[in-house]
Symmetry: C2
Subunit: 159 residues, 2 copies
DNA sequence: GTTTCAATACTCGGATAGCCGTTGTCCGAGTGTTCGGGG
DNA sequence: CCCCGAACACTCGGACAACGGCTATCCGAGTATTGAAAC
């Protein structure tokens, strides 16, 4: 089990946008350049963030990406689910109903215990990410870093 | 992000072994037949469980797999980590140290906040799985299921 | 000087190849049984 | 009847293909700018 690399990129990009003034817009070139990431591939993930309603995109000059909501209302889970999907990591295939000792469906009134345990763990994981917001991360960065980020965003702000 | 299918199979197989008397041995053919799983592929995962010290394997006739410890001392996390590995799902590549605004290494005394949040979530996931044991699952099954499992294990017990 | 319009340059979005890991399968090494032969 | 040995059958272990998804990239559609030309 391994998370997509796009998760790290997406969270950092969202945090970068959150460091600027509300409504800050940055093109994918600007975002990719800040972290030294491949621009074309990063675009794929940014597109997912737009589809999920985390970011808002505008075309043309002066266009780019901006946060769709205040940073304090965007959880890390929102970003992760935008990239990885909302599906649980564990999918129960009901193997207890297969094989020579298959349990009849009428005896399967209770959910598979293994499934329940795995889903509980998945819920704990998501709950942990749901409690952290992009705004919280941006606010916790050192003043030097925030200042440098704001400067870069202002420089590369579309005319 | 998707967990390997072997996780479900492995947990169920461990629970099946836990339903029999302590020291119950079952060959991979017996285990695969019980759930209607492809024997050859299941063997791959059972091998991982042996490497991780969850199961103990013996060769030859009357051989097979048995739990390496009492079922109450085997956590679901033990089984999951045996199949999926102990590595965290998130790997921080320190992208803050790359790009045009790279933060110098000397300013990176604190761990990357994003990394810490992702690791916290990963820890919560693992902690949830660490709290559940194979024995607990086996004990919670209905008497009918347990009886049927014990019967199957006794029938296919190596002579 | 003001208005209009067309060319422009920059943006995002979808469609298209490449590589690594999970999936799936096979055959070989090792071991306890067991059956036959000899004492 | 008991002992010995060799063949056997059954087990696990590691090595070898095939598919799917993440990785990586490109080009096309759309839009605000901007500059010049006409009024």
């Amino acid at each position: 089990m391994k998370l997509s690399q796009g998760v790290e990129w997406s969270v950092h990009c969202a945090v970068l946008l959150a460091q600027g003034p509300p409504g800050t817009v940055a093109s994918r070139r600007t975002l990719a350049g800040f972290y030294g990431l491949p621009e074309a591939y990063l675009a794929k993930h940014l597109k997912s963030l737009v589809r999920s309603g985390v970011l808002h995109a505008t075309s043309g000059p002066r266009g780019g990406f901006r946060l769709a909501r205040p940073a304090a209302e965007i959880t890390v889970l929102d970003v992760v689910e935008a990239v990885e999907g909302e599906a649980s990591a564990f999918v129960c295939t009901e193997i207890r109903q297969r094989g020579v000792c298959a349990i009849p469906a009428e005896q399967c009134v209770r959910r598979c215990t293994v499934d329940r345990i795995m889903q509980d763990a998945d819920d704990a994981w998501r709950e942990s990410l749901r409690g952290r917001t992009i705004g919280e991360i941006a606010r916790g960065l050192s003043p030097e870093v925030r200042e440098r980020s704001r400067g870069y965003l202002a420089e590369n702000r579309p005319a």
